[in-house]
């Protein structure tokens, strides 16, 4: 399991009710179910991935976060997880609002477009950056609204969303992000992980 999922799992206490939005093949769901006794649900758009979840015995709903989150009642989950998908929605702001409506808390991770390798790629190669976290070409990437850790940090603040914890991930290293080190973390972190609440 990738380090990002381990970090997310560490943010969630045992016996909680969790919705994994864009749960893919259910790796994180299975881990949370087996190791933390989490009452876990998934929402996934890919039919193939939904089948993989069912084969793992996971409860998953085939659907699209932009359309299908609205069916869940307010605060019906302790945590709602959204891993590296926010930038792929037509309307990320609406999805973020929905995550925070459905979940008492939300855990959102974003690939950081200000990561130094991304900056260097654009600066020296002059082409759209391709990294381990951003593997697609400009013409076939699902990402519509790339942002940086700094952008996201300011964005949630401006929406009066409370940040409980913000973490920077660089390969296996995890560190805390705060107002004072934001510039540095924004340069050296590949991924940002935010535990938020509204």
């Amino acid at each position: 399991m990738k380090n990002e999922f381990q970090v997310i799992a560490d943010l969630i206490e045992k016996d909680k009710k969790v919705l994994d939005v864009g749960c893919a093949d259910g790796t994180l769901m299975k881990f949370l179910k087996d190791n933390k006794n989490i009452n876990i649900r998934g929402l996934e758009i890919s039919k193939k991935k939904v089948q993989e979840c069912i084969a793992k015995g996971l409860t998953v709903i085939e659907g699209n976060a932009e359309k299908d989150l609205k069916q869940f009642p307010d605060k019906s989950f302790d945590y709602v997880v959204l891993s590296q998908t926010l930038q792929a929605f037509l309307n990320p702001e609406l999805v973020l609002d929905e995550l925070l409506r459905v979940g008492k808390k939300a855990i959102v991770t974003i690939p950081n477009f200000a990561y130094w390798k991304v900056r260097f790629h654009l600066l020296f190669k002059g082409t759209m950056p391709i990294t381990k976290t951003l593997p697609d070409e400009w013409y076939n990437t699902p990402n519509l609204h790339m942002c940086t850790i700094k952008d996201f940090f300011h964005f949630v603040k401006s929406k009066d969303i409370k940040i409980f914890k913000s973490l920077a991930l660089n390969n296996l290293n995890t560190s805390i992000i705060n107002e004072s080190n934001l510039g540095i973390k924004n340069l050296f972190a590949d991924l940002g992980i935010f535990l938020i609440e509204k």
Binding site: Q51, I54, G57, V60, E62, G63, Q71
Partner: protein, 371 residues
């Protein structure tokens, strides 16, 4: 149709009050079982059949000598694995495969015909509930069925919220749409317009409204297939001829196919049963039973739901299945949902659609492991 020798029957002594207000008692329910009930009695699956189905789910149907209607899904090592699970299916009341229906005789020994009480999906499941007592099953492992079978699944878990661990409605709806009712009405009109129908008393008159029933089946059959599926299978292909004959014979293969479907149906199905069962489907509106709030139908159940729809099903389209998912999610129920890609239309649930069968198998087997 002498079918009695192959039919197992439970006679329900207890009176059953029907939605129409009448009460029936001492009535037969014809059923079949597959696999064996384990000592803990925790491996039973109650399967509900669709409009023209019967209790012969798999293997050779002893009455028609054809494969059971769900042979692709049910059997040893299949999605619903009869080496593992004990499968029970019964003919709905109003039906014509041994359960109490319009071809039975009333207490005065006169064949009911249209004097049989109008029955509902609710009446069907209340009648079938008696099978649990008969087998001494306290809680089923699962209930499942497609189309009208799915309606019975929804009604059953609403009526008996703690009587099944898992619930699998397939290609179904919680309320018959205007289009659904329209197609059923077309079928009923075809039957009653046949001069051999004789106000439902054809048995007494030794006639059979076969032409009307065949037309009803032909119309319904079109609704079970998708436009793409029909086009790919038949297109404009001609039936055993080089060119058009400029007449009203079956020039096209699709015509010949529909005529064949109509004619074989007449041999196995009773026209009055077709009227009664389609009526029951049309009357089905689960939300209406709960003052318009579908979620309330499921408020008392802890069962795990898994809902399946098919992309090309325009009779009970994905959105109608999703409405059930939404109603369940709004009360925090345990519900999974998948839409299976298939161009085989509504009939997909009866056919060899591997993604469907593997999803069904995985859901059942994984849920059973967690038992």
């Amino acid at each position: 149709m002498n079918i009695e020798k192959n039919i197992k029957t439970l006679v329900v002594k207890k009176p059953l009050k029907l939605d129409c207000g009448k009460t029936i008692e001492n009535f037969p329910i014809a059923y079949e079982t597959y696999g064996s009930l384990n000592s803990k009695k925790d491996n039973a699956i109650l399967v509900f059949h669709a409009l023209t189905g019967d209790q012969f789910v798999t293997g050779i149907n002893p009455v028609t000598n054809k494969d059971g209607w769900w042979s692709y899904a049910v059997g040893p090592d299949k999605a619903i694995n009869t080496n593992k699970y004990f499968v029970i299916c019964s003919n709905v009341i109003g039906g014509c495969m041994g359960s109490y229906g319009p071809s039975h005789k009333d207490p005065d020994q006169k064949i009911f015909g249209t004097n049989f009480p109008v029955i509902t999906i609710n009446d069907m499941v209340n009648a079938q509930y008696n099978l649990l007592d008969h087998f001494g099953i306290d809680k089923l492992f699962s209930i499942t069925g497609g189309s009208m079978g799915g309606m019975q699944v929804l009604q059953f878990i609403s009526n008996f919220p703690d009587k099944s661990k898992t619930v699998i409605p397939i290609a179904t709806t919680s309320s018959h749409s205007a289009q659904n009712i329209a197609f059923n009405e077309l079928g009923r009109q075809a039957i009653t317009a046949d001069s051999n129908w004789k106000d439902g008393n054809y048995a007494l008159n030794e006639t059979n409204p076969g032409k009307g029933l065949a037309v009803a089946r032909m119309a319904a059959h079109i609704t079970y297939l998708s436009k793409k599926g029909l086009q790919e299978k038949f297109g404009r292909k001609l039936q055993e001829r080089e060119d058009l004959k400029f007449g009203f014979d079956a020039d096209f293969q699709i015509e010949s196919y529909l005529r064949y479907q109509g004619s074989v149906f007449v041999d196995r199905f009773d026209a009055n049963s077709y009227l009664y069962i389609t009526r029951a489907m049309d009357y089905f509106d689960l939300a209406k039973q709960f003052k318009g709030n579908l979620s309330d139908a499921f408020i008392n159940t802890k069962a795990k739901f898994f809902i399946i729809s098919f992309t090309s099903d325009w009779l009970y389209p994905t959105q109608e299945n999703k409405d059930i998912v939404i109603a369940l999610n709004s009360i925090g129920a345990d519900v999974g949902f998948v839409e299976i890609k298939s161009d085989k239309g509504h009939d997909s649930f009866l056919l060899d659609v591997p993604d469907f069968l593997s999803a069904l198998k995985n859901f059942l087997d994984k849920s059973y492991e967690e038992n």
